[in-house]
Symmetry: D2
């Protein structure tokens, strides 16, 4: 199945003060980052060298939780409060950076860390781009 | 961004007793269903006829929570316990059915309900197919 | 702060076809179990013997996600659909059993596993009791 | 069941650079706030005047998601990264303020909004106090 994030946003019955395609792309990127982090934490847990990957697991779990919450908040447009979205996007960018940096340290050893670091980098960029677009 | 669910599963360092492509497709379908339900609940909340859509909002919220939890559990392969996955897939199929049925009742009036009903139908089918594949 | 689960349920403006005190106690038990599992997974991750605790971490993470989703679903009474609650309570009891059994295996070595096993046992019992009460 | 947040934190096997009792109290307050917001959103949904409560439902849902994610992140101490916790606490305080302000507007009419506004005020204060304690 293809995500229907943009088609769903296009049916939202009130105005949205952001470009809907950009907003949908941000949500999809964060949902994908959350999924990558959940999978990376579990893959790390199954490595023989798990004892060297405990910080990576932890930052993955945090990033998954924060990206998932941020995607949900961004998906809601009713009674929009920019201050909440902005603060959460800052936190989400911070979590993506932390998790991405940690995964990048293991990217040569573990392909799941390499892929997850890339997903986190996209997540961080998406948050910062939306913050810029929100003005 | 494209979801990296399958590439991530392909880097999991231990055997997986399911076809990885099928498993990734199930996860992606449930993640997409969760996102559709979150957006549909919010679109319903912004309709002038919100008072007629309260049950739809509630079933959407439940389905979003259960699909998100199921996608996470399926994404974890370490120390796999089939009994948990099976019971959760049954619950997830039930939630998708409940939310999909409710959205279908409003599909003629609201395009977001039509799209969400389709996402829920795919979610339910994905759960049932994986249950069958798990044997 | 004390949880306000029961006071909140007492202000729900429509009938609830379950004893509100019992329902609130179930929700509080599942919320506490979710929190215990989140903390136990992290404590396991910081043990020198983490490589022997990977299944425990995984079942903890699953149990946390499923208990949290179940507590949310039970907290919603609008447009109540018993089939979803029942299937989810079965899945939650299964997850609590799986996580509790795994934690119990490490209870002599790790106090966090002993406490978490007790929280999971209470979670499982709460799910089964509510299923019985629902008839 | 009583939450075992503090007993669980006391079994964490490494140092924690914060007072454990304060940290546990913060987590419990955020978990209680999340639960209150989930219940308040649903109670609003069952009010005859739901069409006047749509913004309240939305801010409740956001606050529930953000408080739940924050409680999880704070519960993890492995590989601690203060920058993520700080940014998330700021976002959580912002969400509690937004939801609390909206609930307070309906506190005279709806007891669930009065209780939820109080829970949000405690959540916001807990976030700000922990930020201060973190230095």
């Amino acid at each position: 199945m293809t995500a229907t994030t943009l088609p769903m946003l296009e049916t939202y019955p009130q105005p949205i003060n952001l470009d809907r395609a950009r907003l949908a792309a941000t949500i999809d990127t964060l949902v994908a980052c959350a999924e990558a982090c959940t999978a990376c934490a579990d893959a790390c847990l199954s490595e023989d060298t798990v004892s060297e990957l405990t910080k990576c697991i932890r930052t993955d779990l945090d990033c998954a939780d924060i990206c998932a919450a941020t995607a949900r908040v961004l998906s809601r447009r009713t009674g929009y409060d920019a201050t909440v979205s902005r603060a959460l996007l800052v936190a989400c960018a911070t979590a993506c950076r932390s998790s991405g940096d940690e995964c990048a340290r293991h990217a040569d050893m573990h392909e799941h860390c390499r892929l997850c670091a890339a997903a986190c980098a996209e997540g961080e960029a998406a948050c910062r781009d939306l913050l810029t677009a929100m003005g």
